[in-house]
Structure formats: structure tokens, C-alpha cells
Symmetry: C2
Subunit: 654 residues, 2 copies
């Protein structure tokens, strides 16, 4: 059992993923997300693949149905992404008493039926893309800038890889379909320069993953070729230009992420995969440099990426509007994919920090608490008049014409536990890293014998105490490395009741290396004191404002939680505001949560007539009205589960 990204034995990662053979989440928000994933989201997705026509497109391609192709050209990719989601989900059932037999049977049957359908739809030469087989049979590979043919192929490969790693493709049918397509791609595209490059990266990382599962070197070779050919004008003309399709500069030279955010992030995942497998340090360094620039100047506080709605692109440096940022759900998922690969490549905790920030905020907010509806865009503000102002209310939907985001959520949620731990071996022995904190059990076979078993008990992220009990102890000493998030100011650590230094090493971990015995307990206390966060002075859109964070959670102010007569958009906070933690509660529609409350001021503008501008200190400058009130905040990832009122993350400072 393995999750996304398992570097091959010959690869050069710093860390390797923990094999979650006997790992499972046992509580906390992530388990809740996996539960609604299984109970609500996946059944809905299966239904939508019928209703929206995705499966029928494949039946037409297989000659088993009549009609014409429906939906955008990348309809097949939704099928593949749901398959991948189901494959990860079916891993859980083997270890946790979670899915009912009926649920398991339905999902297993879906994989089997769909694999057979794909097999029948696949062309004799291995090509498989219903959009072109059905609607434009003569257009194959003629408009790669927009066609998504490699993109769909990549998602097919990722589905097959997930099924293979999860053992849910026992007769290898899905893998065989994916291999036939990959072999076909290698035949057509390996000869330099080939018929072109896909305008939507994704196949690069998928080919490397397929190489990891199959050992077929040509897949890695093709992924490398696609990565190296990028930035040389091979994608073709696009109305938004070469930057939009990441074709303006070779990937070793491009200094920043640019263009369509999801495309750019998928490309980076493939770049890191190739670099790790080939040991290409300079290729890796180029991707790291872009990650650093992106984090420093183009990332929302929630981890959301892609600040401009027009073109769904990364914006300019420090262009981070809370209301208008796109922050596409797929981009949050893709960011986790990129950072996960960089974490394995480098062993630096900062990548796990961003993963945690993204999962608990931008990504977590995309889906409603009940698992039923999704945002594609995830702004940090909603105004009170959003529903009536422009006729485009900002609310979640069950599915979309362009339905990339829902299965992007389900496939990552189903694989969350794979991102919680990693291991490595150094001169002193093995190291097991806890990268994310959640109630879970895990057991890791050590390369030098024995097994390291842990039980993690915590009410994180509501409580900062993480209690780790050793359930299986290896014979020889080994290290437990605990990621110390940068926001935890006063971290405490104890082993069997005795205090230990909690200072992180240069990579960001507190490392405990010692002989372990069953029953040993490690208690980590992360500092969850609520904090006021202020922006860099170049972020124009939130100047003079602050956000509230507590541990990994960004908070937001929703209208529903404010006192009668206090408008969210009139709230202002004192720079020395302190926050009362309300008792943990199960909030209707939201689930378990911890609200924060503070004294605040409601500011009402004085000049409601005429233009909303006035001369500073001028005769017309009557002071705005201020009155004391309270402000109550809820975790951003739990917003919009109680009506369509105003919301804001950034609140003016007095």
C-alpha cells in the first residue's frame, strides 16, 4: 500500500514516503473529510459521471452507445480522477472498519466496470480520448495547446497507479490500458521534437509515477523529454500567450511561476519527479527557486494560488486581492502535490508547512462540510451584496460544466494519510518523520530490522497537545523527527514525562534519537495561541488589515456569528486584540469547531452621499462613527456552511 509519489529504488530523494501498510487516521477533521468523501462525495461523483455524460462519451467511443460527445474536451479526465479517488478510498477499507460491505462493493464494481469500459473504448494503437475519438477523429494531436489529450492520458495513468498501489486492480486491467496509451505516446512523442507539447501539463508527473510502478524506463524518458522541451515554443499559439501555457522559457531558466496556475503547478510536480528520479540537482534547484518566489509573493494566507480570475493565472508580484483572488481548488491540490514532492526531495519542513496551511485552509474550504458541494474559486472575502450585485452569487455547486475541482478534492482527501509521515536513513540509523499531526496509528518496518509502531492521540488542530505512544519498538535506536511549525512560538516536548529541547533543527524538525521501548510516550505541545497576522507592506489589497490565525488554521469572520446590528464589513480590530477561545462545540452544519471571540469596533463611514472619497483633514472630514462590539471568528475551512452572508479573513486594524 502506497500513496502518491513512491520514488524508485534508484531515485535520489532525501526522504521516502512512509508505507502506510498498517496506517490509518483514527479521528480529527481529516478523518471526517474522508468519511464524507466516502459517504457523500464519491456516490455523487459516480452519479454525475452518468448525468454529465462522461461515461456515455466513452461508451460512444467504444461503439456501444449512440449520440454525440458532451462537455469540454477533458471530460475523460473526470472519469480518471474519480477512479483514482476510489482507488485510494478502497485502501482504507482494508484497515479500518469504515466502509460498509455494500459501499465497498459499489466502489469495487465501479473500478471494474470502468476499467473494462476504458479497455473497450481504447483504440487499437493505444490512443484513448473520447473527445477526439467521438467528435474529432481527424484532429488527434493537431491542437495540443488546448486539446488536453496528454492531460487526460496523465490522469488515466495516475488512476492506474493508484489502483495498482492500492491493490484494487487485481487483474491489472486498468494498468494495461494506461500502459498501452503510454507506449503509444512514447512511440509518437519520444522522437525529438515530436508532434508538440500539451498545453496542460500533467502527463509529466503521471509518466514518472507509471515508471515507478512498472519500471518501464521509456516512461521516465518521455517525461524527461516533455519537461526539457517545454519553453521552446512547441506548445503552439494561444491567445493568452506562451506564458499562460508555461512555454516562454525552458524550465531550467524560468525564474518564476507564470500563467495558468494549475498548469504551472502540475508542471512543477513533473519537474521535481524527473529531477528526483534522474538525480538532476540543477533541475530541482530551478523548481525550488520558483517555489520560493511563489510563496514569497503570490500566495494567499490560506495557501490559495492563482490570484487573477481572468485566465486563472498567477498574478503579478503581491497581487493578492482577498475578494477577487481565484485560488482555484485544483491549484490548492496541485500545490500540495508539488510541495509533497519537494518535501521528499529535500527533507525540508517548510514544504510540509505549506501543505498543512493549504490543506487546512484553501483546500479544506473548497468543499461544504457535508461533502456535497464545491467551490472552484476560494476567495478570502465575500461581501454582503454578493448575491444580488452582479448576478453571480459566490456559493458552492455540486458539479460544474468544467468539473475539474470536485474529483481533485476527492482524490486528495482519499489519500491524505499518505502525507502524514516520511522516513529516511542517515549515518546514525533510520528516522521517522511526523510531517502532519492527526489522530492515527502507523507502523513502519525499518531497513535494519524491526518495526517502529506509533499511536498518535491528539485533538489537533483544536488542541496543541500531541501524544505519541510507541506501540512497536525496533531493536536498535532510531529517530523520531517532529515537524515544528514556524507559528508555534512556545513549543514544549517531553519524553516519558521528561522535558526535551523542542528547538527545530535547520530543516525544521525536533529530532529524538534514542532506543525506544513499547509504551514510551512523547508529548509535543504546539503553541496554538491565537495570533494577529499582518501582511507584507507590498500587498496593496490588504494594507492596514490583519487576519486571525490559530495554529494551522486561518480564521474568518462570518456574518452569522456577529452580534445583531454588527456588519462584518464594518468590523475593525485593535492591534493588541486578544482572543477568547469559545468552548469546543459541534456547530450545526459545520461540525466540531472552536470559535474565537474578541472585542472589536464597528466603523461606519460618514460620507454616504457623493463620492466615497474625501479630503484628508479637510472641512468635510467628519470622523467616521465608531462603536464597540464583539467579533467572532470561525475557521476559514468551515465557512459558508450556514447561509450566504458576508465573510472576511482580513479585517482592518484600528
Amino acid at each position: 500500500m502506497h500513496g502518491p509519489v513512491v520514488p524508485s529504488p534508484d531515485a535520489h530523494p532525501t526522504l521516502r514516503p512512509h508505507s502506510p501498510t498498517r496506517a490509518e487516521l483514527t479521528g480529527g477533521p481529516w478523518l471526517r473529510w474522508q468519511r464524507v468523501n466516502r459517504e457523500v462525495s464519491l456516490p455523487l461523483a459516480l452519479g454525475w459521471l452518468e448525468k454529465a455524460g462522461n461515461l456515455n462519451n466513452l461508451r460512444i467511443a467504444a461503439g456501444e452507445a449512440e449520440g454525440s460527445f458532451r462537455g469540454p474536451v477533458y471530460m475523460d479526465s473526470d472519469v480518471h480522477k474519480v477512479l483514482e479517488s476510489v482507488a485510494w478510498e478502497l485502501q482504507h477499507g482494508r484497515h479500518a472498519d469504515s466502509a460498509t460491505p455494500a459501499e465497498r462493493a459499489e466502489l469495487t464494481d465501479f473500478v471494474d466496470r470502468t476499467a473494462r469500459l476504458l479497455e473497450r473504448a481504447q483504440a487499437d494503437d493505444g490512443y484513448l480520448d473520447s473527445a477526439y475519438q467521438v467528435a474529432q477523429p481527424d484532429a488527434r494531436y493537431t491542437k495540443l495547446v488546448d486539446s488536453h489529450e496528454h492531460y487526460c492520458a496523465g490522469h488515466l495513468m495516475q488512476a492506474a497507479v493508484a489502483a495498482q498501489r492500492g491493490g484494487v486492480d487485481p487483474d491489472g486491467r486498468l494498468l494495461a490500458v494506461a500502459r498501452r496509451f503510454a507506449d503509444h505516446l512514447a512511440e509518437v512523442f519520444l522522437p525529438d521534437p515530436g508532434p508538440g507539447l500539451d498545453g496542460h501539463p500533467e502527463v509529466e508527473t503521471a509518466l514518472v509515477e507509471l515508471y515507478r510502478v512498472t519500471g518501464e524506463a521509456r516512461y521516465l524518458e518521455l517525461a524527461t523529454a516533455f519537461v526539457e522541451r517545454r519553453g521552446r515554443g512547441l506548445v503552439g499559439d494561444h491567445k493568452r500567450g506562451e506564458r499562460h501555457r508555461q512555454d516562454h522559457l525552458p524550465v531550467r531558466e524560468a525564474p518564476t511561476v507564470t500563467g495558468h496556475a494549475v498548469r504551472g503547478l502540475y508542471l512543477e510536480a513533473g519537474i521535481v519527479d524527473v529531477a528526483v528520479e534522474t538525480g538532476d540537482a540543477s533541475l530541482l534547484a530551478a523548481s525550488v527557486a520558483r517555489w520560493e518566489d511563489m510563496v514569497a509573493s503570490r500566495t494567499s494566507l490560506t495557501g490559495g494560488l492563482g490570484s487573477r480570475q481572468v485566465g486563472e493565472v498567477f498574478g503579478e508580484r503581491y497581487e493578492l486581492p482577498p475578494d477577487l483572488s481565484y485560488n482555484e481548488t485544483c491549484a490548492s491540490a496541485a500545490s500540495v502535490q508539488w510541495s509533497w514532492r519537494l518535501l521528499l526531495a529535500t527533507g525540508e519542513a517548510r514544504y510540509a508547512d505549506l501543505i498543512e496551511r493549504t490543506l487546512f485552509n484553501a483546500f479544506g474550504a473548497a468543499r461544504s462540510a457535508d461533502g456535497r458541494t464545491y467551490y472552484k474559486g476560494n476567495p478570502l472575502q465575500r461581501r454582503p451584496d454578493h448575491a444580488e450585485a452582479v448576478g453571480d452569487p459566490r456559493c458552492r455547486d455540486e458539479w460544474f460544466f468544467s468539473a475539474c475541482c470536485p474529483p481533485a478534492v476527492t482524490r486528495l482527501v482519499a489519500a491524505l494519510e499518505h502525507h502524514a509521515a516520511t522516513w529516511s536513513r542517515d549515518a546514525d540509523g533510520a528516522v521517522l518523520h511526523l510531517q502532519q499531526y492527526a489522530p492515527m496509528t502507523l507502523s513502519h518496518p525499518l531497513p535494519d530490522g524491526g518495526e517502529f509502531g506509533l499511536r498518535v492521540a491528539t485533538d489537533y488542530p483544536w488542541d496543541g497537545a500531541v501524544e505519541i505512544t510507541v506501540t512497536r519498538a525496533p531493536e536498535r535506536p532510531c529517530a523520531l523527527a517532529l515537524r515544528i511549525p514556524p507559528w508555534s512560538v512556545r513549543t514544549r516536548l517531553a519524553v516519558n514525562g521528561e522535558a526535551e529541547a523542542a528547538d527545530p533543527d535547520e530543516k525544521g524538525y525536533a529530532v529524538l534519537r534514542r532506543p525506544w521501548r513499547v509504551g514510551d510516550t512523547v508529548v509535543l505541545h504546539l503553541d496554538l495561541t491565537p495570533r494577529l497576522t499582518v501582511p507584507h507592506p507590498r500587498i496593496d489589497a490588504v494594507r492596514g488589515a490583519a487576519a486571525v490565525e490559530r495554529g494551522p488554521l486561518v480564521y474568518c469572520f462570518e456574518q452569522v456569528d456577529q452580534p445583531e446590528g454588527t456588519e462584518v464589513d464594518e468590523l475593525a480590530l485593535a492591534p493588541d486584540a486578544t482572543f477568547e477561545e469559545l468552548p469546543l462545540a459541534d456547530l450545526d452544519g459545520v461540525g466540531r469547531t472552536l470559535l474565537l471571540r474578541t472585542a472589536a469596533v464597528a466603523v461606519t463611514g460618514t460620507h454616504e452621499a457623493g463620492l466615497p472619497y474625501r479630503t484628508h483633514g479637510g472641512p468635510s472630514a467628519a470622523a467616521d462613527t465608531r462603536r464597540p462590539t464583539t467579533a467572532t471568528a470561525v475557521p476559514y475551512y468551515q465557512w459558508d456552511n450556514r447561509g450566504d452572508g458576508a465573510m472576511r479573513v482580513w479585517v482592518p486594524l484600528l
Copy 2:
């Protein structure tokens, strides 16, 4: 000779437009704009109508050329708008020694040739729209939500009206074409409810204007029907919904402007035209209420309108991002059209205030100083990396696939002087209002005999002194009303050297009523002290920032004017900043201008690595670096004539 909007004798306006029979601009920025209009912009536009295929589309419709229709469905409207521009321009030549005989001949010939072409292209039943005649002959009126058929008809009528008022359609050919189309529309659409409503308002105001020129009551009747039928679902389905096409509520009920900004503004112009002609006070009041809401919550400091790029719509209340606002050039022109009608309807100076703000800022900035290139969107900020960040550099272009904006500029520029003065008659006699200040001469025949002639000498907007000399005096006393802009704090006024009260009356004018003699001089001193302007606390996007204004001009900071090493995006101003006025100069590429300079601070953020957020007062909160510098500002309307560097109107306050 008359300009846009001449209420019929039976109408109910408060003011009537000054007849500029013997009026002309004699200097200042507006005359400069008219000069480049004639010398550069109009010849370029004539060339583009050939290059882009607009004229050829009509030739195909006339059966005189081969080929297929090119461009968006509203290509004809560009022809009509250039015709209207030329018609207003040709008025000037009769009074001012400005156009050369060769220029006049070329423009006159264009009107004649194009009127004949339109005549030949027009269908026997009066219909005229090459997009449908050539490409979709069977689709006439079947997709009005997007077809722009009435929109194009409206622009044809406005061209004919301008030609008629300017006397440049001596044999009435263009007017006859417009009338035939209007008669056809009346026949098809007057019976209730008709085949639908156009998704792009414009024909409403045009039909009223055509009624004013022809006296044909059916045109007013049809305009009234179109206005009253709006908001009842007759436009048809649109993916952005009914609000986008202003079809969600009847115009008497809609509380705010909504949807596509240009569409909304054109509709309002038509509503006011109908209200004034029919004496419908409640219809007028509904439009006034929407104007007030728009001004109070959806208007950029520059007068720009339509804050959201996606859908080109009015945004939510207080959604006014300086970097991402669309502020379409056509919306600026349409705003002037609406306010001009409201000014005539009500006699309130606030409408002339907004006209002045819009013309001197959002509208004036749309075209380069040389008259060659245009912005469609007019944001208040450009970042240093705009050109490389998203591959969509923010610069002006000569023409566009959707070329609505260039001829929207040329037609309004050519008619600017028509907005400078109005007259009315009250119980005490006639009143001549100076609504805008520019060097000019004007002479107005009074209804009770005689003529009131004035010469206005001023270096406005650079200098606040406006000297008005009486050149023709009527026999009986009459009033001169001078608009006092709200930003003029210490206004002074003198007649023949003797001080007079400069306080504006409740409508916004200082009124001098007396017997006049030739040679009398009135000197108005408007207070142009530079001022720091701060935003309403609900405008999130510019919180903590201020803008610099001087008289009617919004200023901006361009990179090119700052000291070496001072980045525009690092500038911050003290709340008590004072501004030095640099000597008036003719700046290369820009023309005559007055720069402002102040002491400022350059703020450099300390946290360039990691996320651009930090805990307020936390241990990592090293102070940002601050160092003194100077900041130099140029009028916003003159920006981007010296390279593509950064620019900002709103600058952080320290």
C-alpha cells in the same frame, strides 16, 4: 449647430444646452485633444475601418464585394461611431481655423461615401446590419440578447443626428437611412411586446435623439416602449444572467446599476431622455437614485466605472480595486452621456462635477497623448512586473478586435465644447451657466432679445483663475451662473474688480444676475491647492492609502518621475504631506503639464523569504526598512506616455 441631447420644445428639462453656433474652444487640454483627434485619431480610425473589414462587410451586404463577414457582430457600430465623430469634428471647421481644406475634404468625402454605402447596403425593408445580412440572414432578431442589432441601429441613428445637427448631411442621405431603419424597427417592435429586447441598450437614447431631430413621435414611442419593457425577461437567456443585461427588474424599480457597465449606462441615458421628453418625474427619480448609489459606492476616484473585469460589470458595493478595476473607456464616455442628460434634466451641478472628473481622469487617460493608441480598461495602478508576469502587458493599442473604445473616444472628444455651457430661463430672466472651464468664446441668443457673448480666458486646469469678459451684452439683465466644484475650498469671485460672494447656491452655482455691458469682466479663482484624498472605510482595496488631487485632476506616481532607486510600489506619504508645484512645462511625449513633488518615505518589507505575512508584534516582526525620498506625481490622464513602468494613484499613508 447643436451637440448631443437637444430636448424638444415640448420637453421638460431644467436646463437646455447652449447652442454653440458661435462657440469654440480656444486653448487648453480639450483643444489639444480635439487637435490630435482630427490630425491623428480620425485618420487612423478611417484606416482601421478598411483594415479590420468593417467597410468591406457593408460592401458585401451591398453586393459589391466578395468574401465573408469579419469581426464581432457589432462591426457596423464602429462605422457609425466614426461617422458621428467626423460629423462633430466637421462642425469645428466652420468656426475655427483648425482643419486644413484637405483634412475637411477627406472627412466630408468619408461621410458622403459612407452614407451612400449604407444606403446601398440597407435592405428594402429598412433593416441594416451587415453581420446578419451577410453571415446569418435567417437569424434576424432571433438572438437579441447577444446580437447587437438594435445597438448598431442606435449608433446609426446617433451618427445621422450628429450629421444633421452639424449640417454635414446636406442632402439628408444619412438621416434617410437612419429613418428607414427606425421606421422598420417601429413597425416590428412597437406592437407589444414585439420580438424581444436587445441585450445591449443604446437604441433607446438614439431613438429619442432621432425624434428630436425629426419630430417623428413614433420614435419616442418606441424608445419609451423599450425602456418600459426592460426588466421583464424579454431580453432572453444569457449565461451571466438577467442582471448582466439589465433585465432583472423594471427600470422604475431597480435600486442600483447592475451588470455590464456600458450596457447599464447607455440604458440610463435612454431612460433620462424618455423621462425628460415625456415629463415622467418618477422615471427620472429612479434613474437619479441609481446614479447616487453608483457614485457613492461603485465609482473609482477617476470617475471610472465597472470595477470587475470578468463580465465587464459594476462590482459589488465598495469593490473598487485600483489594479484590477476594468473602468472601460466606453463606460467613461457613457457615464458622461448619462450625467449630461441628468444635468439638463435637473440643473444640479453635481452631474457636471462628475462629468469633469470623468473627462479629466478616467476618460482622458484612455488615449495616448499623441492620439494614436487606447486603453479599453483604465486601472489606477500598474505594477513593475506587469509586462512579464502574466504575459498580458497593460499598455494601449491602436485598435482592437472588439473596437468599441477608440470611436467612443473620438466621438466624445469631437463634441466636448457642447458640454461646457447650458442656459435656462426663470422668473427673473435668462441664466447662462458655465458648466466647464476652458479657454473659449461663446455667444448665446437670449429668448427675450439680444445676445450674451463671453470670452473665457484661463490656463485651467493648471491655474485656477478664470477670466470672463463680456463681448456682447443683452439689453436686459440676465444671470451668469458659475459652477463651483466641491473641491474648491477657498473660491474667490470678482466682477469688474469688486469681490462678490462665491458661495454656491443649493444647486452648486455662484449666480451673478445684473445688467451686463460689453467689457465687463468676471474673475473666478478656483482653489487648486493640492490635496490628499482618503477613501471611505469600506473600500477595502485602498485602505490606508491616499491619493493626490489638484483641482479636477487626479494625480498618479509614475516610475519615470521618481529618483533613482525609489520604487513607486515602495512609496509612502505622511498624512500631512504638502506638495510643491513644479513649474508648468511641456513634457516630452506628454505635453503641457504641472508636476507635484513631496517628501516621502520608501518602505521596504523585511520578510522577503517565506510567506509575505507575519505575526503582529511577534518575534519575527523586525521593522520594515524606511528611508526618506521624494515622490513626484503627474496628472493621471497624462500617464503611460513615457514607457511602461509602474504607476499608482493610491499610495500608502505612513
